[in-house]
Amino acid sequence: MNIRLNGKPCELEAPMTVAGLVEANGYRPELIAVEVNLAIIPKNAYSTTELSEGDVVEIVSFMGGG
């Protein structure tokens, strides 16, 4: 299954939830927000949100800024 993750193509070998994607990429959930097809996924829904072919996923966090 192919999705876009942070602007780049990303191939997933098996069906995956948002929680699985977050864990597979080593993100710490308390530091990020996840958006799938422009909708924010609440943290308590990561494990129940299945990703689908063509989903556009953004995983964002804070950086230094003014």
Partner: protein, 263 residues
């Protein structure tokens, strides 16, 4: 006077520090010392695509009692700013958001009209909306009417350290807008921050002035002291300026000579 309580409010939250510290362009390792030396209670940050796991994150370095103020940098219109605000709230867990909308990457000047639209939408959702703006009285009034918690006029273009280039227009905002006026962007030296506070600004935001200083932590402290000094001067009321002649501070009688009186 400096023992008297002197607090200010943003969206119902009370602060004693009037120095909002940016966290960009310097090492995460320095942030804690900077926040402490600055006495800052509010620290700004930006939202970006996350680096993959294992890397240091700014939230590991910000003291827990500090209010996080995410900005919407990168937004080119109100819709993008609103999207960034929503994502930021998901991480920060708070409603504070600094609106930054720019169409221009050379001068990074804020788009006041789009900013007004973003303020309107986000204030209706309950955000504490802090708009970075070009100091225009009409736009500031529109932002106030749209529910802004403060107004953040630029002193000079972002990151230039050029100081209070827009001084006269910021003074007008301070006089006419009954919201905290926070001078944001362009402040390069403690003396400029002090002057902004003497004028009656509620607070000053600085980042590049500190990030590009010779000693980042020491400059954070210098800004803290300058902002406190300017605030005290404002509360005191400045002494008057006399244009036409000098005005002796020492008595003009009792000189050790026989021709008494003024020369």
């Amino acid at each position: 006077m400096n023992q008297m309580k002197d607090t200010w409010k943003l969206g119902g939250h009370e602060f004693t520090s009037r120095f909002i510290l940016g966290s960009g362009k310097y090492s995460l390792e320095l942030i804690r010392a900077c926040v402490e030396n600055a006495g800052a209670q509010i620290v700004t940050m930006a939202l970006r695509r996350a680096n993959e796991g294992g890397l240091a994150n700014i939230l590991d370095y910000i003291p827990k009692n500090v209010t996080m103020l995410p900005n919407t940098s990168g937004a080119r219109n109100a819709e993008e700013a609103i999207r960034i605000a929503h994502l930021s709230r998901e991480i920060s867990g708070s409603d504070f958001i600094k609106i930054e909308i720019m169409r221009d990457t050379k001068y990074l000047l804020p788009d006041n009209q789009e900013t007004i639209r973003a303020v309107d939408a986000l204030a209706k959702e309950g955000f504490v909306v802090m708009p970075y703006m070009y100091p225009d009285l009409n736009c500031a009034r529109d932002m106030r009417d749209a529910g802004a918690a403060c107004i953040m006029p630029l002193g000079a273009p972002i990151g230039t350290n050029k100081g209070l280039a827009t001084k006269e227009f910021i003074k007008i905002l301070i006089r006419e807008i009954d919201l905290p006026i926070i001078v944001d962007a362009g402040i390069g030296r403690p003396s400029q921050a002090c002057e902004a506070m003497e004028m009656g600004a509620a607070a000053v935001m600085a980042n590049t002035a500190i990030a590009t200083a010779g000693n980042i932590q020491v400059m954070a402290e210098a800004f803290k002291k300058a902002i406190e000094a300017g605030r005290l001067a404002y509360r005191s009321g400045l002494g008057r300026v006399r244009e036409d002649r000098a005005d002796a501070s020492s008595p003009l009688t009792g000189f050790l000579r026989d021709d008494e009186g003024e020369a």
